[in-house]
Symmetry: C2
Subunit: 285 residues, 2 copies
Amino acid sequence: MRVIKTVKELKEFVRTEKKAGHQIGLVPTMGFLHEGHLTLANQARQENDTVIMSIFVNPLQFGPNEDFDRYPRNLERDEQLAASAGVDCLFTPDVEEMYPEPSIITMTVTARADKLCGVKRPGHFDGVVTVVTKLFHLAEPDKAYFGLKDAQQFAVIDGLVTSLNFPVEIVGVETVREEDGLAKSSRNVYLTEEERLKAPHLQKGLQLGVQAAKQGDKSVEEVIERTVSYLQDHTGAAIDYVELLSYPELDSLEKVQGKMILAAAVQYRKARLIDNIIFTVRGEC
Amino acid sequence: MRVIKTVKELKEFVRTEKKAGHQIGLVPTMGFLHEGHLTLANQARQENDTVIMSIFVNPLQFGPNEDFDRYPRNLERDEQLAASAGVDCLFTPDVEEMYPEPSIITMTVTARADKLCGVKRPGHFDGVVTVVTKLFHLAEPDKAYFGLKDAQQFAVIDGLVTSLNFPVEIVGVETVREEDGLAKSSRNVYLTEEERLKAPHLQKGLQLGVQAAKQGDKSVEEVIERTVSYLQDHTGAAIDYVELLSYPELDSLEKVQGKMILAAAVQYRKARLIDNIIFTVRGEC
């Protein structure tokens, strides 16, 4: 596996691969790899000739009071894990390499961003689409892989690709979970022992909500209330939001129908966890 | 020459060319082709295996009081001219094809746009970078060709490519002129006979200004005054602006030094004309 730190070297690597007629799969990450990331890499490995993984903690998508500085990093371990997952090229630029001079272009997400995590993270998705645009231009992937745990991120990137005609197929990969159902996340390391025991209830509450939604006689409000009530009773965390929206448009719903996402975020002492279920309810004909 | 009207067909065309290992040159235009455009096409023909020309009058870059509706169009003639210039694929989408649904991304130009033509055309360059981004993603060119008559546009696109790491080399092509020095422009057809006779003085005034700048003892203000005074006396048009700025950054100058642009816009009854000279004055060591 090649480890590349500069834009110049990455462009040369990509040019060589393209000339050889190789199809490129890109797995953009912020590092501190866990099984979720490796599942993305494995799928990319199966579907492409060349797999590029990027590790870049993107300052542009962190707010001033967020955890950019203390976001967990372990590049040495990441390199071993990426190599073992069959990654051909690990791109690990520093901030100066990705943002060498002030950009003359600002990208703003005007839909799908003002819901869910976007409410408390103004500008977050503007930072996401900017770095994804840069990574797409640098790695020129045929396919790019994103986890569906960050379902809003996937919806926004889906809209980015469609709106600006990127020649990239984006692939959403199912959330990888611990045995007890907790979604894998780099931020799980911040949970206390007690919090870790209760955290799987986040997914359980969402499953209950989806069950209610599929019964067919519940309103949007009833589905949300059912979920909120379970999360309050079992997670031991403060609820940030529980929302039921259309997917991937993330529009508000008048009734429980079509392709939807039930998503929640809860706040533990040092870790904010998110999870979701994307599901479909057919309406009456 | 293939004439393609849909995004789907263009993507298929590009995919085939890429698979064959062909280098692609793109010439983005708004049509009503003149010798300036054909010079771009000729250069693209010499430097690439495959030449794609786009013709698209982009509504996003016209202000509400600008000439989108009456911008001159003549697709039949354009097809003949493009074919004769060696274009392989003429992409002529309609507005619905380029903007099929509301975009979830807004692109804003935060530098190089608030000078020269940008002052009176707020949002103009936002529209330019958006359509150029879409065309770059659709045609996937190795090189893209732009005329230096629109020097500010070239500077903005240069900044777009650098800021977002587009894998495209942009090529600026010298302005093509009538025998009397008037820059070729689709908008020249709106000049009256009398205006047409006086219009070449736009370039003459700029030449005088550059001459003054190169003497080495003139201030920025003196260079501009010299130019303004000539244009006032000879063009018979209202002066919109005369500016001397660094190039391509388009920053204000404290003294006449380095790579610069002397640019002017003048308003005739039905036609607004722009022209410029890009030149370098070495400072003292």
